[in-house]
């Protein structure tokens, strides 16, 4: 069959297909597309014929463009996240955390281990804190949690309107740290390990120092509430980073690039959960932890309840087979 005859006999179909594609690409009006897959396959056949018969480049290139556009519409990856956010939060995320327990355990040990051990060290040998944190920062930190000041958080003077400022600040600061901890895992996990240990040491040093100088009450009652979400989130972000690194160190039977791609697909889901955790943490930190009205005892109780909540959530949510769909 000559090219011009081929073109004239199928031109109408191609134009129709192109119009359908325009509609689909604009994302509106998904009606009248029941025949789309069939038309697409028809078009693929036309392209194959055109190539096989040695038709001209113009015809083949334009058919190729149509096929590519059709391919992009027919085989688009449906994002499971956006469609099923509730299911993800209620079941899939804790399931994923349990599935990746090795990395979570390793990251948790690095982060909480360095935090607790350095806090104890600083509490016993107070001068150690100056090895890690410059003296002026220590005194700044100290004034923040001074029981006499009456307000908590980053500034001594803090009114209700400032809660909003701090909310924004916490979101930016904490999620930024979580993202860094995750991304640097690409260096064979070393970056994540570094950030986990480093942040653990800093927080531990501050905690140990403030407890030593007698500001323990203000400090612990401030941090215990949001710490449940914030610290867990950092550890989970580190676990996601370690997973990336491990895929490069021990890719198993896959090529490294492929192993990395598969690991990254899971890690990014962990990071989505981490972001939810950090949003909650920022909210608690700005609006509950900074309140000075409740007794410290109340804060400890609420804080303990929040820790228990996080632990129960990660350990038990989504265990039943037909968890909320």
């Amino acid at each position: 069959m000559k090219q011009s005859l081929f073109e004239t006999s199928h031109k109408a179909e191609w134009e129709q297909f192109s119009l359908t594609l325009d509609r689909l690409e604009r994302g509106k009006d998904a009606s009248r597309i029941a025949g789309f897959p069939k038309d697409y396959r028809q078009l693929c056949q036309h392209l194959a014929l055109a190539r096989e018969r040695g038709y001209s480049s113009f015809l083949i290139d334009s058919l190729q463009q149509l096929v590519l556009r059709g391919h992009q519409q027919l085989y688009r990856h449906r994002s499971r996240l956006g469609a099923n956010l509730l299911g993800f939060i209620l079941a899939d995320f804790p399931r994923l955390v349990r599935e990746q327990w090795r990395f979570v355990l390793a990251a948790g040990l690095m982060f909480f281990g360095s935090l607790i051990s350095f806090a104890l060290l600083v509490y016993l040998f107070p001068d150690l804190v100056y090895n890690l944190i410059p003296a002026e920062q220590v005194s700044e930190m100290q004034s923040m949690y001074d029981p006499v000041a009456g307000h908590l958080g980053r500034t001594a003077e803090r009114a209700a309107s400032e809660d909003w400022v701090m909310f924004g600040y916490y979101i930016m600061h904490n999620i930024g740290i979580a993202f860094q901890t995750f991304a640097s895992g690409l260096f064979f996990g070393l970056g994540s390990a570094f950030f986990l240990l480093f942040n653990g040491l800093i927080i531990g040093a501050v905690a140990g120092h403030l407890t030593h100088v007698g500001y323990g009450q203000t400090f612990w009652s401030f941090v215990i509430g949001h710490g449940a979400f914030e610290l867990t989130a950092i550890a989970l972000a580190g676990a996601a980073g370690l997973k990336l690194g491990w895929a490069l160190i021990a890719p198993g039977r896959l090529p490294r690039a492929e192993a990395l791609r598969l690991a990254a697909r899971k890690s990014v889901l962990l990071i989505c959960g981490v972001m939810v955790f950090l949003l909650i943490a920022a909210f608690i930190e700005a609006y509950w932890s900074s309140m000075t009205a409740p007794e410290p005892m109340t804060k400890y109780l609420v804080g303990a309840a929040l820790w228990a909540l996080v632990a129960t959530y990660l350990l038990f949510a989504g265990r039943t087979r037909h968890a909320p769909e």
Partner: protein, 241 residues
Amino acid sequence: MLETTALPRKATLSPPLDTRHQVETPEGIDLPLRPAGLMVRALAFAIDLGIRGLILGLLFIVLAFLGKLGAGLGSILLFGVSWWYMVLFEVLNQGRSPGKQWMGLRVVQGDGTPIGWSASLLRNLLRFVDLLPFGYFLGAISCLQHPTFKRLGDLAAGTLVIYREQPLTRPQLPEATPLRPAFALTLPEQRAILAFAERQGELSEARAHELASILAQPLQVPAPHAVVALNGIARGLLGPA
């Protein structure tokens, strides 16, 4: 006669000279994608960086009048613009941030399908690593050594930055009386003759003659008539208009 250019059986094919990346669809069609190299991507990124700077500058001026509330909003905005600008544009605007749109690029999955939330988030979070130790050093190295120019974020997310398809205009074939070639043409020869006729509008007359005269001997026509003979064969292959 023409020398045969067909490769002997089992000869290893030499890698193609261009950077096309073939994607095979489930229908058995090979779709060529054209990956974008380091330079054009760096330019696109520079444009995006400028736009982001501009947005933040303007917003901070506005927010400065709002006092404390403005400071809170400002840090959320800074976070949003620095971490989410690329992701939002890539997912909601068919893989094109403004810079990429300007340079005629788009991001797709490795198999040519549109990019989704998780892949886009991943490739943009790992940008942090590509930036290290300074000025996209690692990203540039990775981009330069990879056959389809992937930076580390692209490797992990399985994404590809390609040139967007430009709309084609129908070329005008030169007028000629249809001819039947004196011998059977192979498919590549047929394609080459058609391409010669389609591209003649872009070639100078002297160049067209130079190219056509290579074929004067096998076509058994005097060299000055080779262009007309080739156009005639092309017309004949194409069929009546």
